[in-house]
């Protein structure tokens, strides 16, 4: 792609962007739509790269912008819209992965299942990833690790693990799937956006 190509990219200087954010916070829909045109394609590309589902990435982006509009009064203080949007996107991706992992009963079916026929590149990638996962599991707090190993080495279901350890199934799931609270630390505005 050569630089002179007349594509429609939106170029805003930092000061224009700050002005735009201020005006949008005051309810100027034009300013909001400019921000949308500036950032939505980037947001979709970014989220899609992680979740590998373009339609869902569009929906998620739509959701983010809609909530931004609804919470516009609180948005006047945003210093860098780009940085703010990044944090929001990252949170949305993590959130999506969480839900996906819970829904797929990944421990039993996916995470430790034998690898399907895949390309050499992918198998190398998957192998390295597995090593990192193993390392993470090894460094987990005791209870969490025990649950993982029961699940992995003994092939026990969440129900069976719950019975064995005398804890609820939900706790087992939490241990296995819920990422650590430290990772989820999000700042004020993102909480506003996601209502959590």
């Amino acid at each position: 792609m050569c630089a002179s190509m007349p594509q429609i990219f939106l170029l805003m200087t930092d000061s224009e962007e700050i002005k735009c954010v201020k005006e949008f916070a005051q309810g100027n829909s034009r300013a909001f739509e400019l921000l949308f045109l500036h950032y939505q394609p980037k947001l979709v590309a970014f989220i899609d790269g992680f979740i590998k589902d373009n339609e869902e990435a569009r929906d998620m982006s739509q959701d983010i912008f809609l909530r931004l509009w609804e919470k516009r009064l609180e948005c006047g203080e945003i210093k860098s819209f780009k940085a703010f949007l990044f944090k929001t996107a990252k949170f949305a991706i993590y959130n999506y992965f969480d839900h996906q992992l819970v829904n797929s009963k990944f421990v039993e079916q996916m995470l430790f299942a034998p690898i399907e026929t895949i390309s050499a590149d992918e198998s190398l990638f998957a192998k390295e990833l597995q090593e990192l996962i193993d390392f993470t599991v090894k460094n987990m707090p005791d209870q969490r690790r025990r649950i993982f190993e029961m699940s992995r080495n003994e092939g026990l279901s969440n129900d069976e693990i719950a019975q064995k350890l005398g804890i609820s199934k939900r706790t087992v799931e939490n241990h296995i799937t819920t990422a650590l609270a430290a990772i989820r630390k999000i700042t004020g505005l993102a909480i506003l956006l996601f209502g959590c």
């Binding site: 190509m5 007349p6 594509q7 429609i8 990219f9 939106l10 170029l11 805003m12 224009e16 829909s29 034009r30 739509e33 400019l34 949308f36 045109l37 500036h38 950032y39 939505q40 394609p41 980037k42 947001l43 590309a45 970014f46 790269g49 992680f50 590998k52 569009r58 739509q62 912008f65 809609l66 509009w69 609804e70 780009k82 990044f86 996107a89 990252k90 991706i93 992965f97 996906q100 992992l101 797929s104 996916m110 995470l111 690898i115 399907e116 895949i118 590149d121 992918e122 990638f125 998957a126 390295e128 990833l129 990192l132 996962i133 390392f135 460094n139 990422a179 650590l180 430290a182 990772i183």
Partner: protein, 334 residues
Amino acid sequence: MNIEQIIRTYFNSHFSDATRRKFAWWLVNSPDEEKAKETTMEHIWEESIGRIDMQTLNDLEGLRSKMKYNGMESGNASGRRGYWLAAAAVALIAVTALTTYLIHSKLMTSGDEFVHISVPNGQTRQLYLEDSTSVTINAGTTLIYPRHFSKDKRNVFLIGEANFDIMKDAARPFTVETQSINVTALGTKFDVQAYPDATTASTTLEEGRTQVEIVEPDTKTSGMKYMMTPNQNLTFHRGSGEVALTEVNAKRRLSWEKGNLIFEGEDFKTILQALERKYNVTIICEHTERMGGEYYVKFHADESLTEALDILNKLSHHFTYKQEENTVYITPVK
């Protein structure tokens, strides 16, 4: 592989479900590496390029309708009536104005002084550029050009449709840039059509010679160049990247200048869009695809919208319509 390589490899690849889940698990579950992950993701975010395309504009439309809905629901609409009314108006004008703003702000950064002219729906306008080139700008169109051309080239940017009658100057080729195609000429008469909401971009040559380059990125014809001779039309299909070169009667085809609208094999939606621009109305018609593809029809300059719609109805005899102020509702009949 380090953390950065893992995330980048994943981001740029399409792996199996199982591998994707491994990645998902690793991404959200290993807190020690969180800082490095965040840094890499932020770099990828910085590098991610999004291009505004039809889908973006559709999404914007969707967002607008939801914004409108929510605003009304929560009773926040007071004082914003003007906006909601405007938001309900045609997408085209707003989007054109916005994209204009974007390109304008891009061009502005180059330091030259640019003029931009937007011709609203329902009008056309003729003007002369610095080099005495004559441009007739069709309805719903924006043209951006430098107040002074440089020594070695004459470039303008078009969103919409215009006819060009280029002043001959062999030392300074004249290029009409659009989002999808660039048309370059030395001295010649031609038309370029590249509306942002259309699925095609096209150019028709009346006299002289032009060279057309496909600049829409990521299609199979990206970067390809075509030489055109008089009475040829080149139509680029933005979705498929297909390019069609056909023989046409250029004078007839380009007589929108005189207020006529001529279609030779265009589909129903294209005709409605042209009528919207000529008569400055919003035409709402669901299922335009049911109305078929190939229309050969000429609307005369002095015909009213009602007359034009009646002609169209005779040709397709498949719809009923009603007009409320500036909006026309067309309902296909089964």
